[in-house]
């Protein structure tokens, strides 16, 4: 079955990125389509929508969204994309995303591109759209059965989890090095902890950047992108499998903000342009403070970010701020708090603006163990996020849970 992804866009052809978008879609077994509208539909749709942009192509986007909402055009998922730095398009992009979510059950992803966009940057997003459509039943799975393993090969760390009858019985993590070697190490340790031998394992699920390599090496039954896998892991760990939630995962290289309905993502954003808004910045801060990153959170919780203003919009400038602030004699506690606040603010500005935050907020991933960061995310959002136990293992847990669906 070819999944039809409806593209609502402005500027893709003249930015030389349309080809890349179609290539990304093709590589995950999907096809880009344009909902049919006639000239007469455009005026009606814009009037109904109530926002009249000056650019006609944006009006066309509105009409195409209306065709999807009215079920006049059949598609499985929606991709909304416009030029980076266009204010008019950014407003329409976000409001159309909301309109699609309010009026359809189609999964949607938004993206603002530059002319440098390559298909590989869209792969995970497109793959997630396809997974949500084509693996509906699998994603509805709420209990793990049998003995399964989840492997999460992330940009910073590699994690393994062994599960048996809906319980975690073994787990381990290590900083990522060689993809297969790191995974083998954590897998062996997790199996040892569980008291299980490899031959007893009934299924393996892999996710993260190294998922394809690991999937092939270990003969995994499930090889799936981290957006859907992490969502399942997060709601399972937080015991929020029903209803709505927002999952925030501040990763080593990119950040994810995902809204879920009954554990299945319906909108997500992924950032990755800026190291300043990721866990990497906190690692750099810890190194400069000559402490381990695991100590940064507790230190930050003792400080006040207002005493040491820092801007991590760019990690280079952020570190410059850090050096200046320390030079001014500010306390390590205040500086640590300011670094956490800066990352939280960046995530808010860059990711959370593109989704409608739903409650509860579940914060996961390795950085959720840095309590000072969780405090700051809570301060920025006005609500302290839930951090479930084993929150750094979401990907591995999701992999183990979903792969049991193949038994």
């Amino acid at each position: 079955m070819t999944i039809k992804i409806a593209q609502l866009s402005c500027g893709t052809e003249y930015s030389s990125v349309q080809y890349e978008i179609e290539k990304a879609a093709r590589s995950v077994g999907a096809k880009i389509v344009y909902p049919d509208v006639s000239a007469a539909d455009i005026d009606d749709a814009v009037r109904r929508f109530g926002f009249t942009p000056r650019s006609p192509q944006l009006k066309l986007m509105i009409a195409r969204a209306a065709a999807l909402a009215d079920e006049k055009y059949d598609a499985d998922a929606v991709f909304i994309t416009t030029c980076f730095r266009c204010a008019e398009a950014a407003l329409i992009r976000n409001e159309l995303r909301r309109f699609i979510q309010e009026n359809t059950r189609l999964p949607v992803v938004t993206y603002s591109f530059t002319e440098r966009l390559k298909a590989s940057q869209l792969l995970t997003r497109m793959e997630a759209l396809v997974t949500i459509v084509s693996r509906k039943e699998l994603l509805a799975r709420e209990r793990q059965t049998g003995i399964t393993v989840g492997l999460d090969s992330g940009s910073s760390t590699t994690k393994a989890v062994v599960m048996e009858n809906n319980k975690i019985i073994g787990k381990d993590w290590t900083p990522s090095g060689d993809v297969i070697q790191s995974a083998t190490q954590v897998l062996n340790n997790a199996l040892e902890m569980a008291g299980i031998e490899m031959k007893q394992v009934e299924a393996i699920g892999t996710t993260g950047y190294g998922r394809f390599t690991l999937g092939e090496h270990f003969g995994a039954k499930l090889v799936q992108e981290e957006l859907t896998v992490n969502s399942k892991g997060a709601v399972w760990l937080a015991d929020r499998q029903r209803g709505e939630a927002t999952i925030i995962d501040i990763g080593g290289m990119d950040n994810k903000a995902i809204t879920v309905r009954d554990g299945v993502p319906d909108n997500f954003t992924m950032g990755g342009i800026c190291a300043g808004a990721s866990g990497r910045f906190l690692e750099m801060t810890a190194r400069r403070l000559k402490i381990d990153v695991t100590e940064l959170g507790a230190l930050a919780d003792k400080g006040n970010w207002r005493n040491a203003k820092m801007n991590s919009y760019c990690s280079v400038f952020g570190i410059q701020d850090l050096v200046t602030t320390l030079g001014e004699g500010k306390s390590f506690e205040d500086v640590a708090a300011a670094a956490c606040h800066s990352v939280a603010e960046q995530v808010y500005e860059q990711q959370l603006q593109e989704i409608d935050v739903r409650h509860p907020i579940i914060e996961v991933g390795g950085t959720s163990l840095i309590s000072g960061l969780v405090t700051q995310v809570g301060e920025v959002l006005g609500e302290r996020p839930i951090v479930p136990p084993d929150s750094q293992y979401i990907g591995a847990v999701g992999g183990a849970l979903l792969s049991s669906g193949f038994l």
């Binding site: 500027g11 003249y14 930015s15 030389s16 006609p56 066309l60 030029c83 980076f84």
Partner: protein
């Protein structure tokens, strides 16, 4: 003479310019040049990264890529044109001319070139249409 039309993909303007004896410079020609270029494989339009970079001649890097890509196509034609016809209040301008900021810049580039330029209004009834055709004809016939 070479007459740039704005909107650059307009059927009506293209037809009238040709009908009254001149060569229209249009979006279609700029795109055909790329579509027929077998060395580039970037369908549907074969607008390449190089084109978007060339657009920097008309607008800085802080300007969205879609605008620079458009200007890279229309800009050279405006430079080549001897005259221009601009429909000011065109109610339809999708696709090639879907970005209002690019459209404003195109009008400005024509003005800056200082070539003879006729601004016409979109006709709303038969009387205005007659006026529009007469005005366009007189302008085109007056071009030496």
């Amino acid at each position: 003479m070479k007459v740039f039309i704005d909107p650059p993909n307009s059927l009506v303007l293209y037809d009238l310019v040709e009908r009254f004896g001149h060569q229209p410079l249009s979006a279609m020609a700029a795109i055909q040049e790329r579509v027929d270029n077998l060395e580039v494989d970037m369908p549907p339009m074969n607008v390449s990264l190089d084109d978007v970079v060339k657009g920097l001649k008309y607008a800085g890097v802080e300007v969205p890529s879609g605008i620079r890509g458009r200007l890279a196509l229309w800009g050279p034609m405006i430079e080549e044109a001897d005259a221009a016809i601009i429909m000011d209040d065109c109610p339809y301008s999708f696709g090639c001319v879907g970005c209002e900021r690019s459209n404003l810049m195109v009008k400005y580039l024509i003005k800056r070139r200082g070539i003879p330029a006729l601004h016409v209004s979109y006709p709303e009834d038969d009387e205005q249409a007659t006026n529009f055709v007469a005005q366009t004809k007189e302008f085109l016939e007056g071009l030496q």
